[in-house]
């Protein structure tokens, strides 16, 4: 029986690359979304809510719920389940609406 999803489909991926999550190095595989790369590293939350400051991550997995919003390379409100991971991407936890820099 397969022990991992990659074993199951007999995956031989192209060489892995590194992205960072809040400064920590995470290994991603070519073709994975940002959310998939984070799940692969055991990370399930990359946003805190606007009111309660509660942790959130991917929920619907198909771009419909917007719970997986993350800040990708400084750009907030990207749907991590849809955005492909690219070498060197810096993912940071999105706090609230992600535009704290615009506050007066």
């Amino acid at each position: 029986m397969a022990r991992t999803p990659a074993d199951l489909v007999e995956a031989e991926p192209d060489p892995p690359f590194e992205i960072t999550f809040d400064g920590r190095t995470v290994t991603a595989l070519p073709g994975q979304s940002v959310a998939a790369a984070l799940w692969g590293a055991g990370i399930l939350a990359w946003r805190t809510t606007r009111h309660g400051g509660r942790p959130r991550g991917a929920f619907c997995g198909i771009g419909q719920c917007y719970d997986c919003l993350a800040t990708v390379n400084g750009e907030p409100n990207r749907r991590a389940c849809l955005v492909p991971a690219r070498p060197g991407d810096a993912i940071t936890t999105q706090e609230g609406h992600g535009h704290a820099d615009l506050a007066v």
Binding site: D7, G31, Q32
Partner: protein
């Protein structure tokens, strides 16, 4: 083929899942110029979601029972001349008088480049998304949609945890549990709120759809092989954990899905995959005034004619947008629509009188009947709100609780989702009520005399969030023409 570069396509197909693929290749093979738009990078939709080429999956079919059918459609697509526009998020469809249709989409690496695709006919094959019902703790990281877990596994080859409880209602749960277990997760239990006896009320429909019995047997066998118990008439009524899932409480339900006090039983797990059936994605069509019908499970689907046309001439639909029914039904409907569009645009009504069309229509009607039986068997019972507490979040985006909505209903007199939204912001956030809409409708109905006002059909003027810059700036040079 069109001779001028600014000429519209004959047909724009929105959605590259089974229905859209079947429609696009059929129309392409009949000589139409076709654009096939989809938000994803690869074809297949949700059902045939598969790893991107970079993941080097030698056997993607290990996560699919029907891969050969998809591989055949994909081969035909490659040979058909259909233009596949990947990573195109369609946000609205418009038509000026009797001219061609315009599908407005966003694309590009940042997802904010506006493009327009013009076509003489539209086939809407936008699929479905999961119906969710809230319960205490459902916003904790580690609680994911059942379809979401399946999607992340099929495309990204990842799991949300090592011990994953699968819960909710509907046949998708069996498929998800079977995939997760086959891919290495431990699934302590599948928790189904209905009783599965609902199917027995329509034995003839079951006999007429042997492929569905076979599917059930395949998933049932997988559950047995992995020793996964199926608990019917039960639901997850609480999730435990502070920053992520540590366990769930499963309670027995009565026939109306009301939790039975004192039956709670704790199951340790690090993730929960949950869903309560699927909702048709109809907003692009309802925005154009297309008529809808109410399916037996309370969802709203597009009302379609014998040849898949909506109530708006020139706009066809196929697959889950016309009611949840599975991939084989979607393929039959897509092919029917492709033939119907070709017949209309080429002025060849004889195309729709063929034996093939009669066969497809018969198969469609048979599978629709099964889908209705299934929808009725898994329709949420009115007692489900019994597992909510006032502190339970209902609207995930705006963090609106059950208590806030009940106050709007009992204290302020709200009787429908729109009034609840105006008073509480429930459904006003990023997802525009896609996740909480069903629950808000049920809670609002509690204030009415009959207590069962059905949710209204989905109406959203924009199908995805659009940057103001994209709305203001509609440059003609971004037109995609054939």
């Amino acid at each position: 083929m069109p001779t001028s570069p600014s000429e519209p396509y004959d047909l724009a197909v929105i959605g590259a899942g089974p229905a859209g693929l079947a429609g696009a290749v059929t129309a392409g093979e009949l000589g139409l110029s076709v654009a096939l738009l989809d938000a994803a990078g690869t074809t297949g939709g949700q059902y045939f979601r598969h790893p991107a080429p970079g993941l080097g999956a030698a056997r993607p079919q290990a996560l699919h029972h029907d891969w050969a059918a998809f591989a055949a459609l994909r081969r035909r697509l490659g040979a058909s001349g259909v233009t596949h526009l990947a990573h195109h998020h369609v946000w609205t469809v418009q038509r000026q008088d009797d001219g061609p249709w315009t599908a407005h989409a966003l694309t590009g690496a940042e997802g904010d480049t506006p493009v327009r695709v013009r076509a003489r006919a539209i086939l809407l094959a936008a699929g479905a998304y999961e119906r969710q019902l809230p319960f205490p703790g459902w916003t904790l990281p580690g609680v994911v949609g059942a379809g979401g877990a399946q999607a992340m596994l099929k495309s990204g080859l990842v799991l949300p945890g090592q011990r994953v409880v699968v819960a909710g209602s509907g046949p998708l749960l069996l498929a998800v549990a079977s995939s997760l277990a086959t891919a290495g997760a431990h699934v302590p239990a599948v928790i189904e709120a209905s009783g599965y006896l609902g199917y027995a009320h329509r034995p003839l429909t079951l006999v007429a759809n042997p492929h569905k019995l076979l599917e059930a047997a395949v998933h049932g066998t997988a559950l047995l092989r992995h020793r996964i118990p199926l608990r019917t008439r039960s639901a997850v009524t609480e999730v435990h954990g502070t920053d992520r899932v540590e366990a769930v409480t499963v309670s027995r339900l009565d026939r109306d899905w009301r939790p039975l006090p004192g039956t709670g039983r704790r199951i340790a797990c690090d993730a929960l995959a949950v869903g309560h059936g699927l909702l048709p994605r109809t907003e692009l069509a309802t925005g154009l005034g297309c008529a809808t019908r109410r399916a037996p499970d309370g969802t709203h689907a597009l009302a379609l004619g014998d040849l898949q046309e909506t109530s708006v001439p020139g706009l066809w639909a196929a697959g889950e947008t016309g009611g949840i029914g599975g991939w084989q039904l979607a393929c039959a409907e897509g092919e029917l629509a492709g033939i119907a569009v070709a017949a209309r645009l080429r002025g060849l009504p004889a195309l729709t009188g063929s034996r093939r069309v009669r066969d497809l229509a018969r198969r469609r009607d048979r599978m629709r009947a099964f889908a209705d039986t299934m929808a009725a068997a898994h329709a949420p019972g009115p007692g489900w709100t019994g597992w909510l507490t006032d502190a339970t979040d209902v609207c995930r985006c705006e963090e609106v609780t059950v208590g806030g909505i009940r106050e709007a209903v009992t204290g302020l007199g709200a009787r429908d989702t729109r009034t609840v939204k105006l008073l509480t912001r429930a459904g006003m956030g990023w997802c525009q009520g896609r996740m909480c809409g069903t629950a808000v409708a049920c809670l609002a109905a509690a204030g009415t005399e009959q207590g069962t006002v059905p949710p209204s059909a989905e109406r959203r003027p924009l199908a995805v969030p659009v940057p103001l810059g994209a709305l203001a700036d509609q440059p003609a040079e971004n037109d995609r023409t054939s």
